[in-house]
Amino acid sequence: MEDVLLIDDDVELCSMLRDYLEKYGFRVSAIHRGDMGLKAALERRYSLVLLDVMLPGIDGFEILRKLRADSALNVLMLTARGDDVDRIVGLEIGADDYLPKPFNPRELLARMRAILRRTAAAGTPNGHTLLRVDDLELDAAARTVIQNGRNVELTGVEFALLEVLMHSPGKVIAREELAEEILGRKFNPLDRSLDMHLSRLRKKLAEGSSHEDRVKTIRGAGYQLTIHRNLAEAKE
């Protein structure tokens, strides 16, 4: 049973979603106010938060911003369909994924599972848990990234992205491949999620490094983790 927190002011929708998700093995707590939702999210350890944007109290973005201040909790934003700004702002603040409302519940289920799968995959040691590229060290089992001895706080998507990139440093990885592996869906040029996650990752890596840009965007092809010193990939 995965604990899921649903923060949405539509009471009826919440109750139906609870019924639906419970059939698939989720335990859903629904909260209809922003401020109370934030409190709940900080109090208990949920595996996933489904967060609506328009909320009484404080809005979804503010909740996400406060959550992200000291937590890498998985967050799926329920944005307004047709409103690109919401989606982009959500991803910029650090949502793991988003789903425009109204959505198909099967789609919601698929996205929730993709997020949880990422977290779960990172938690199980599968051969080589320690990756090292230049000054970066990623421990898949402990879900930590250390840069120059400094701990880098990453969200689930960012961690998964960095892991894929560090598996083959210097190699260009296609966007399509990353989309399917990380987001669990087909690449869609209109969907800027990958770019957003990568730009956040880039920012975090730039804070502790003198290198200007660790993750390069190759126009029309994909992304590449650049190598500055000699490649040192340790397998354990």
Partner: protein, 476 residues
Amino acid sequence: MRGLFFKIFVIFWIAQSLIFIISTALIVQHRFPRPDVLMDSLFSSLRNQARERVDAFEAGGCGSLKTYAATHGQTIALTGAAGSNLCPGVPDLAGGSRDGIQFQDHIVGRQMGQQYVWSVPVTSATNKNYVFLLARPNAPEGHGPNPDFLRFAFPQLPVAIAVGGATTFALVLLFTRPLVKLRRAARELAQGNLRTRVAEPASKSRFFRGDEFQALVHDFNHMADRLESLVGAQQLLLRDVSHELRSPLARLNVALELAREDADPDSEIETHLGRIERETERLSKLIGQLLTLSSMEAMNQVDNLGPVLLNEMIHQMIPDAGYEARQRQCTISFHAGAECIILGKSELLYRAIENILRNAIRYTEESSEVEIRLSAEPEEKGGVAVLEISDRGPGIPESELRSIFQPFYRVDRARSAGTGGFGVGLAIAERAVKLHHGELRAYNRAGGGTTVRLQLPLIEGSDNHGQGLRTANPAG
């Protein structure tokens, strides 16, 4: 507007100049006395002079006459009434051609060689008759226009014409400036920029405030206000309705899914639910498109612009669109004549081009080809990328070619009911293209079908030389 400016200017200037010229001519004519009045005064002055000279002659002889002639620089002579040469002075007369000079009882003037000679009959104080002769060298006779007129008109008329020109210029500016501004604003408004207003002059002077042009500007702005608020209200209504429909639709989606969970997968209920789900999905899509359109209409410009390679974008689009095309046994071909890089927002452009492409696939005949052509064309203001998407559909009546970019516009309602579109896609495309300062037009192809032509300004210095044809044919 040049036309009106020059017409008014030329007509007014010519009219003013003509008025000056004609009135000057009239003044000249009236200012100078009639010839008989002129002659009277001339003759009386000649008689006076003649009498004085004759008196002088009688008193002091020819000598006094000569002294007088020398001091006054005149050529004079005196003859007796019978023609005896008393005091020669006019050379020609001395030469014996005196026949013509006879005593006459009135003053006669006549041409004699290089001179014009007045002969004045005079009766002295002693009652003797003489003829006084006064010769003047020939005045250079002016030919053509009245020399008096020219002399009189010289400084005034050019000045008057120049001043007339300047005032006419100012007047015409006063007329055409507001017209030019109004016309520009009207055109902007027609292009859909409803925020256009004509600046009302800041000068509070009473001179400018009250005129008809100001009233027109004021009315125009009032009209634009009204138009903007009406269109705004309509857009707001559409947006609010779509917005409000989202929540019930979200609930409907979940309820439907719950119902499907409970339904027997082999029963008829399941097929009904499937149908409901498809319609719900259509509704969600429509609402999404409407909200996209209204948020784009609220935008005045796009931020975060970046270079966009159109060739790459189209290549990305083709596999997905090709899937739809295959279902209708159609093919998509892409001919790229140049690498076109434009400055823009890739999501908006992608959506625009994709909507046009999907529309073409939707309306093209079965087993036909949808052609995409991309090329670069030079223009005065830098190059433009030209993207043409052509289908082999039923075509569009000429009168409706411009209307297809309006939301919910359908050429043939009965026929397009089954095509699955809402009529919002092209409106979104048009808005996106406008935001990128481009142009979107549709025209009918020879041989049937429609071409939608999209024109976007290229980034300066982008490679717009032909690179040969590259054809992708994923659906073939």
